[in-house]
Amino acid sequence: MSGARGERLVELREVSCAYERDEVITGIDLSIDAGEFVGVVGPSGSGKTTLLRTIAGSVQPVGGRVQRRARLRVAYVPQVETINWSFPVTVQECVLMARVNGRRLPWASGAEKHAAAEVLARLGIEELGGRHIRELSGGQQQRVFIARALLGEPELLLMDEPTSGVDVRLRHEILHVLEELNDEGLAIVLTTHDLNGIAAHLPRLVCLNRTVIGDGSAGEVLTPDVLERTYGATMEVLEHGGMTVVVDRYHRHDHGTAADALREPTVR
């Protein structure tokens, strides 16, 4: 599934991307090696999805250079919010889309069906092949799209907000699946808004706000200074039971003083 650990898969040098005339990300220097597990965090509109699309190759940079290892297999899992759940497609049909560049015939070969069944079994949803994607639970839906990505036998898996809008149990379930895949050598880059539930658990974090503000381990980048430059808001970082906890402080200007607001921290 993966390349040799440490092998450079993708390298972005001074990359800038724009939609129409609006520059979304600029001056990005970033590299992804085989076997890495990287989280990209940043506020809404900071360019996280654009960065993923640039790595995937579906967005072409207007400046800089993206270098991918030759014949690199990249899979992209979009935000589930962008999926059209009314689309008439069964789990098996959805997963087999990964074989878009396979044989010309519309129907899947026995080998393709077997490969799809194996991936579904690996993710614990083998019995769902004939079900419509809308009939699944949130965790099962996410697994279907991970399965589709895995059927392409990627070396690099890109996931856009895999845990957005999910509860704690499902978040743990998804993180567990991803950690297993990473342990097997698959390089993963995911975007997340969840600093404590996801980002703090990842070995490498990239803080993004149109450009890279910080890049390193959670301990290195989850600092008040980097977080303030990333989010434009004051945040505190605490250590609790060996875990990094980010606390943001909401300043209520309308109904009290800043000092009052500081007494009501919100854990993100």
Binding site: Y19, Y76, M97, P106, L170
Partner: protein, 284 residues
């Protein structure tokens, strides 16, 4: 009774019309699946109107209407596709501008120069009277090309229709696929315009696919179901058109709309139950 039902088959124009209507139903039913699932129903409606401009221009210039309207239609389809892919203005507004301008041009040309022997009503509402061997061949060729394209590019079309973003990331040239679909759509509308008419082509494109969608949750089944429903509606509608003495376009569309209503009533509650938000489990 049987004799009465078989009576129109003695006329060549009816036999031609029946073949064209059945093939037209199947063709539009097949392409309609992609049109409906991509949320492009308005494009089908607009494109049929845009073709009217080419129809008028070719009638006045004295060139074959299949050729003139074909070139016009493909140009309009590619323009619509190009504008739709841009984000600056809404796609619905862009389609409205291009297609209504083309339709208006057609009307203006007829008003200024006269219809030059062209049956204006037939172009708008369809007629089997003018269906000749040339139309049968044209629609058979378009059907064959469209079916071959969909057969060979089934996987790419499905992926692009369902998830264009990931399809693009997986190496599919979605712009080319969309453009190809638009060209096929333009060809299908052009080939079926004679029987269905400009104003009713969109219905034949959308209703069979929407009916099939209510009957299945699998894409492959929806495709052949929509194709079959379209063909049956074309066949039955054309026969009704003769016996009830109404234009072919309205007869075919009314048969399709009746079938849609029946399927809607029969499957509605069951579908609604199946669509209860099981998916919300775990999602905030």
């Amino acid at each position: 009774m049987i004799d009465e039902l078989l009576a129109p088959f003695q006329f060549e124009f009816f036999r031609n019309g029946l073949i064209v209507a059945t093939l037209a139903g199947a063709l539009l039913g097949m392409i309609g699946v992609y049109v409906v699932l991509k949320g492009m129903s308005y494009i089908g409606h607009g494109l049929s109107h845009a073709l009217f401009g080419g129809f008028a221009a070719s009638a006045l210039l004295g060139v074959n209407y299949l050729l003139g309207a074909g070139v016009w239609g493909i140009a309009s389809a590619l323009m619509i596709n190009g504008v739709t892919r841009r984000r600056l203005i809404g796609s619905d507004a862009a389609i409205g501008v291009i297609t209504t301008a083309s339709f208006a041009l057609g009307l203006a040309l007829f008003a200024f120069f006269g219809s030059a022997g062209t049956n204006f009503d037939a172009a708008l509402f369809g007629s089997i009277l003018g269906v000749g061997t040339q139309d049968v061949i044209a629609i058979a060729v378009v059907c064959m090309l469209a079916a071959t394209l969909i057969f060979l590019r089934y996987r790419v079309l499905l992926f692009t229709t369902f998830d264009p973003e990931v399809a693009e990331a997986s190496g599919v040239n979605t712009a080319r696929v969309d453009a190809l679909l638009m060209v096929v759509l333009a060809g299908a509308i052009l080939a079926t315009m004679q029987v269905l008419g400009v104003t009713l082509v969109a219905a034949a494109l959308v209703i069979p696919a929407s009916t099939a969608r209510m009957l299945t949750n699998a894409f492959s089944r929806m495709l052949w179901m929509s194709c079959s429903i379209g063909a049956v509606c074309g066949f039955v509608g054309m026969n009704l058109s003769y016996h009830l003495d109404v234009q072919s376009g309205p007869a075919i569309v009314l048969v399709a709309a009746t079938l849609f209503a029946i399927v809607f009533v029969v499957t509605g509650p069951a579908k609604a139950r199946r669509r209860l938000p099981a998916e919300s489990a775990g999602r905030a």
